[in-house]
């Protein structure tokens, strides 16, 4: 193992991030299958959930990189990558669980609602929620929870179990902290790759930029700009109905 690899003990986490983004970008250039009004809720979930998990992996794994690095630095070198992947598995399993609930709820709603609200209105509500969350003191409190760690056992089954426990705990903290951003991603229909990039930037700034770490409300500025854009310009397809992305594969 060479020194440069040791200097980046979070390599495994970045590989997972890169793989998720590669799949999402590749999927975005494949023509969408189009919305089928005859799809059942089960079909919609079967199609939408994997995409949601992929999206959460691409967007929320960067948020867990400091914790993944912590896991790597607190594991013996010969089980470092195993430990990081175990941690990430548990962390993403929490997000996947949240995604399953969200996609089922949205699929059910999109099928049941006689006249779903317009795309523009839903995005505005989700963004406004995200902004209020970002500016509030509760966001700072939740962010502090994301810096909690637990002792990791060095060997064997105990080591595996402690990585799972830390991953799950970090996942729950992260969900309680970043859920508004994923809500925005869940309800946006058009230009989703750009939304993902922008919101991932917010997540990264909250983890890596000291000023934003101390004052998470700072990233509310770009959020307000995005909201203003959506309200004034109406987005590329203001007539699109909400929630249709989960009826189409791949990204619309």
């Amino acid at each position: 193992m060479n020194r440069s690899r040791l200097r980046r003990p979070d390599t495994a986490a970045w590989i997972v991030v890169a793989a998720a983004w590669a799949v999402l970008i590749a999927a975005s250039v494949i023509p969408a299958a189009g919305r089928s009004p005859t799809l059942s809720v089960t079909d919609i979930v079967a199609r939408g959930w994997p995409m949601w998990v992929l999206m959460a992996t691409a967007m929320m794994t960067p948020a867990a990189v400091p914790a993944a690095r912590h896991v790597a630095e607190n594991s013996f070198r010969w089980r470092r990558h195993r430990a990081v992947l175990t941690f990430l598995g548990a962390y993403l399993a929490v997000w996947a669980g949240v995604g399953l609930v969200a996609v089922i709820a949205l699929a059910g709603w999109s099928r049941a609602a006689a006249a779903p609200p317009t795309y523009r209105l839903i995005v505005i509500v989700a963004l406004a929620l995200a902004l209020v969350w970002q500016l509030g003191s509760w966001k700072k409190r939740r962010l502090a929870k994301c810096r909690a760690s637990t002792p990791l056992a060095p060997y064997g089954w105990k080591a595996f179990r402690s990585c799972i426990r830390f991953g799950a705990r970090h996942g729950v903290s992260c969900v309680s902290n970043c859920w508004p951003l994923m809500l925005v991603m869940t309800v946006t229909v058009t230009g989703r790759l750009w939304w993902m990039l922008g919101l991932t930037g917010v997540v990264l700034a909250g983890r890596w930029v000291g000023l934003v770490r101390a004052n998470p409300g700072i990233v509310a500025g770009p959020g307000i700009a995005a909201l203003t854009f959506v309200v004034l310009a109406g987005g590329p397809d203001p007539s699109a109905q909400a929630l249709t992305w989960i009826c189409t594969l791949p990204l619309s």
Partner: protein, 366 residues
């Protein structure tokens, strides 16, 4: 302020050099007398201290010696042990950036004097606080005088503090003033030469950037709860990890003992000396564990819901034991720091013990 209140013209804030031998490790007598010679209450006496300290108990030499801190050449070389500690002007992801001088003697003296000195919110109400901090300041100046520099980072030098002058007016001072106490602040300690420390010395903390974390090469896999007089844990060294580091040959010059996930519900009144013991049962003191102000980490808006870490450079001990290749297991011993004497005429009081939790004990190389 003292002069404006009618103090003598040559008045200067004294320092409590508890490491000077003899009776220096006891509270100075003027702080222990309940009344003045004329019978009035002594304003320097505080009843809310550890009763044995007020009764003439001495601090143990392991608590008063600043030798470990003074032997470190860098102010803030994260994540390694440093004289002053790492950058803390923003939330940290995990663990902390304690400085060696802050740990010993600063924190441990606060805890052992006890009472209002044992709580950062009230410590300055005990007059001995000022003499304790003057001593910490003197040790810092001596460290500078030995040719060690303060951080060059703007985050350090531009940090400001609001103080008050003798008229009660607020006065804002930058931390950079402390780089030249004689020239800018106009005071000097009697242990420092007339010229004082060279001005403008800078540690290279900024240029070095964030160094890689020392690599874990040994770990104890059960948490430890410190409540009693003594406790020990055997920490096996992982030969695969050590061999890998040594084969690589880069950055394996130092061995560190790391006490991780250290926490307690409130500031414990007890502090512990930490020793290492090799297979030949030779014992080496490596530092102390005193959790002054630990409860503030749990306060609303506190930086650290995560626990604290204490890291000690034990390379010299590994060398004594035959080098890192020869070390297969080391015993880490925690011994409660007991005050010396001071119990005469006092009734034994059973103190409430707040357990100190140590989540993990590891060895690291880097």
């Amino acid at each position: 302020v003292v002069l404006s209140q009618g103090g003598p013209d040559d008045w200067a804030l004294p320092y409590w050099n508890y490491d000077a031998g003899g009776q220096s490790n006891t509270l100075p007598l003027p702080f222990r007398e309940e009344t003045l010679p004329d019978g009035r209450p002594n304003p320097l006496f505080v009843g809310q201290r550890n009763a044995t300290m007020n009764n003439g108990a001495g601090l143990p030499s392991t608590a008063t010696s600043a030798a470990v801190a003074m032997g470190l050449g860098d102010f803030a070389p994260p994540p390694f042990p440093g004289f002053g500690g790492g950058q803390t002007n923003g939330p940290r992801h995990f663990f902390n950036a304690f400085g060696a001088l802050e740990s010993t003697p600063h924190n441990v003296v606060h805890v052992l004097v006890g009472g209002i000195m044992g709580d950062p919110n009230t410590a300055a109400l005990d007059p001995i606080f000022w003499l304790h901090h003057a001593n910490i300041d003197r040790l810092w100046m001596e460290w500078n005088d030995a040719g060690n520099g303060n951080p060059s980072d703007a985050a350090w030098n531009d940090q400001t503090f609001q103080l008050f002058d003798d008229g009660g007016n607020a006065e804002t001072r930058p931390l950079s003033d402390a780089n030249d106490p004689i020239g800018v602040l106009g005071y000097r300690y009697d242990t420092i030469g007339e010229e004082g420390p060279p001005v403008g010395l800078e540690s290279m903390a900024e240029a070095k950037g964030e160094a890689p974390e020392p690599e874990m090469v040994g770990a104890h896999d059960e948490p430890v709860s410190l409540e009693g007089a003594s406790q020990s844990v055997d920490v096996p060294v992982d030969s695969r990890a050590v061999e890998g580091m040594l084969e690589e040959g880069v950055g394996a010059e130092h061995l560190y003992l790391s006490l991780e996930h250290v926490d307690a519900d409130t500031t414990p009144r007890q502090a512990y000396a930490v020793y290492l013991e090799g297979a030949d049962q030779r014992r080496f003191h490596v530092g102390n564990l005193a959790l002054f102000g630990i409860e503030r980490l749990h306060e609303e808006g506190g930086d650290a819901p995560h626990e604290q870490r204490f890291m000690f450079d034990v390379s010299h001990i590994a060398a004594e034991l035959g080098g890192m290749e020869a070390v297969q297991s080391l015993r880490v011993i925690f011994e409660k720091l007991d005050l010396e004497g001071g119990t005469e005429g006092l009734e034994a009081v059973e103190e409430e013990i707040v357990p100190i939790r140590v989540g993990r004990v590891t060895f690291r190389m880097g």
